[in-house]
Symmetry: C2
């Protein structure tokens, strides 16, 4: 007997799924865009994921299709699902991760907490929204934004002329959100099996720099029991109501008055869950495979009291971090370094480092020092 | 920059090296005998490891050659080393793991503790040895034995007629060892980097059934500080004196009077170290890669107070254990199941399961129950 999973996209998320697939003896195949991808070792097809014929052939070689990214056209997935292929998460759920306007509309119907928002089809609508929301708005393209791309802080429609003049490129409208007065950003990861079983990891704090995740602190320091419960309830409601399968990451703002507001959703393993490789009994990558194959989920308890994960972001076109191992590994024998096999480029997510332990202060200090030790060029 | 390691042999040890290679971003290539091996995902060459031309071509594609098994002819490795290839461990060390007579001779020179032994070239020599050692001997073929194969308990030369009549097949002699009155079997794992750095894992107890490792208990229950120190000293002496690089496993007998005697050596990741994937900050597989590439070694501290690893041995030609996941994973969400992608066969090492935790009794009970849950057919 074999459980065969096909992953569309050959990035670091697919790469990190290979490890638990090997451990559990599950078959994993990756559909990548190019040779030399992060997940190259498991690539069985190189092609264009927008071409249904190519995706269909790939899907026929596995039991279930899942994803490393959210860019496969919904129409392709809907057709394949109608043809009987198992797509996890289903396009019925994925459309809310692919399109932020769909997401806001659906979460509003569910009465879930989030920033004030509006669909924007004109400069007038945007100026009205800005006026109603304290003179500033976060303007987002509904589709395709990530890591700070497709997001702009605007104080008047004049700040968004280029987007407003090309509305057709964004499906006819933009998403405006109120700028939230938040204390910090949190993320709640859950996994949901196709047959319904749910498991949640501890609430984490994410620290962003220039719109990119920099550090993840586990569990989120000094969070109250009620905050932790609220976060799990929000994530479980989203997972169930939207029919998410696999890992769901709910990015949250914690406001000055202690409320949680939903920022973004991701329906796949997420940067805020990389800590779980060492920090949890079951990593998000193993759990994602279990969930999309409808295998029973693993325990999500932490292995240590604290985990800190720090991203290794490219500093230039030279430093691939692997070259820094002779010094970095010597100085930090307890730090777990991960690199993704990518060509170096400034700002690129090249890898990450995780430290686990019993003292938050010690773990944070060691993780930061270990990450810094790789940055020398 | 890249660190490229080539592994000869496509078994489960090579398979489990793939995971840390991916994590650390090291390149791994595997030379396998057949397609469909456990390490198939990283296989770049299928061939015959006794043919020097084939091994040479493979060696030219990596920075260092290491091993999944101990069967590559020493002459092949010696020639390649003379030609300038990096073979880790070196054939100078490997010969002591490949040939148990060489091993006993060298360890005797070093004054290390072990059972009484003799080289046997005739029935008379064997009968004398048996008479001097309480009427029984453990007779071993010097080369090629593993998991209880190549080992016989004999009470007279008449019990070994077939081997004694075919001495040439074993290089002209056999190894006789006194039967040790032991309380239990232990194993001490260490890793040694080519430039000398050494790290030791905690002393473990191994439980054998029918000559095959069944359970590994970490740390070895109720072992005294002096026993633990003695084990590390023995293993470090062996590693240094024999020039071992990579992981070295020293299998030990603990006698009724508390002495440690060396049973066997393995110069590669070893079944007694599989627990380290979840149980240690650095697994034996990650450490082996670091060591043979001369990268700094990782911390070997335990992640939890106790780990128990239980082998999943094939029960018949049908049960590949993966088929049992729907029930086994549901019943044991904290157990870490590993399967090696092998065709089912009775007695074959098909996989293993590890449980870690704070209570030895609870961990042992859960690991045994989890392993048993996979055995239903």
């Amino acid at each position: 007997m074999a459980f065969r999973v096909g992953v569309i996209g050959g990035g670091q998320l697919a790469r990190m799924m290979i490890e638990p697939a090997l451990a559990l003896g599950l078959e994993i195949k990756v559909f990548a865009e190019n040779s030399g991808s992060s997940a190259a070792m498991a690539v069985t097809r190189i092609g264009d994921y927008t071409q249904i014929a190519e995706v269909r052939e790939f899907a026929a070689s596995v039991d279930v299709i899942t994803f490393d990214h959210e860019h496969v056209p919904l129409s392709v997935l809907e057709t394949l699902e109608q043809e009987g292929f198992s797509i996890q998460p289903s396009p019925k759920a994925l459309k809310f991760a692919q399109n932020k306007l769909h997401m806001r509309r659906r979460l509003s119907e569910l009465g879930l907490p989030m920033p004030a928002w509006a669909e924007i089809k004109s400069a007038n609508e945007l100026d009205s929204f800005i006026e109603e929301n304290g003179g500033v708005a976060i303007l987002k393209t509904p589709i395709g934004g990530y890591d700070g791309k497709g997001v702009a802080v605007v104080r008047s429609a004049a700040d968004a002329t280029e987007w407003l003049e090309n509305l057709d490129a964004f499906g006819g409208s933009l998403l405006a959100e109120a700028k939230v007065d938040f204390v910090r950003e949190l993320a709640q990861l859950v996994a949901r099996r196709t047959s319904g079983e749910l498991r949640a990891w501890p609430l984490v704090q994410t620290v962003q720099r220039s719109g990119v995740c920099s550090e993840v602190l586990v569990p989120a320091p000094e969070s109250s029991e009620s905050t932790r419960q609220a976060a799990i309830e929000i994530a479980e409601t989203v997972a169930k109501s939207l029919g998410v399968t696999g890992v769901l990451a709910v990015e949250l703002f914690e406001t000055t008055d202690g409320r949680l507001l939903i920022n973004e959703l991701a329906m796949r393993p997420h940067n805020s869950g990389h800590f779980s490789i060492e920090g949890s009994v079951t990593s998000q990558f193993e759990q994602h495979l279990r969930a999309v194959l409808d295998l029973p989920l693993g325990a999500t308890e932490s292995v240590a009291a604290h985990s800190v994960m720090i991203n290794l972001l490219g500093v230039d076109d030279e430093n691939d971090f692997v070259s820094e191992y002779p010094l970095a590994l010597a100085a930090f024998p307890s730090a777990k370094f991960h690199t993704y096999g990518k060509t170096a480029r400034q700002g690129r997510k090249m890898g990450h480092v995780t430290v686990i332990g019993s003292s938050f202060e010690a773990v944070l200090k060691e993780a930061r020092a270990a990450a810094n030790s790789c940055l020398m060029v």
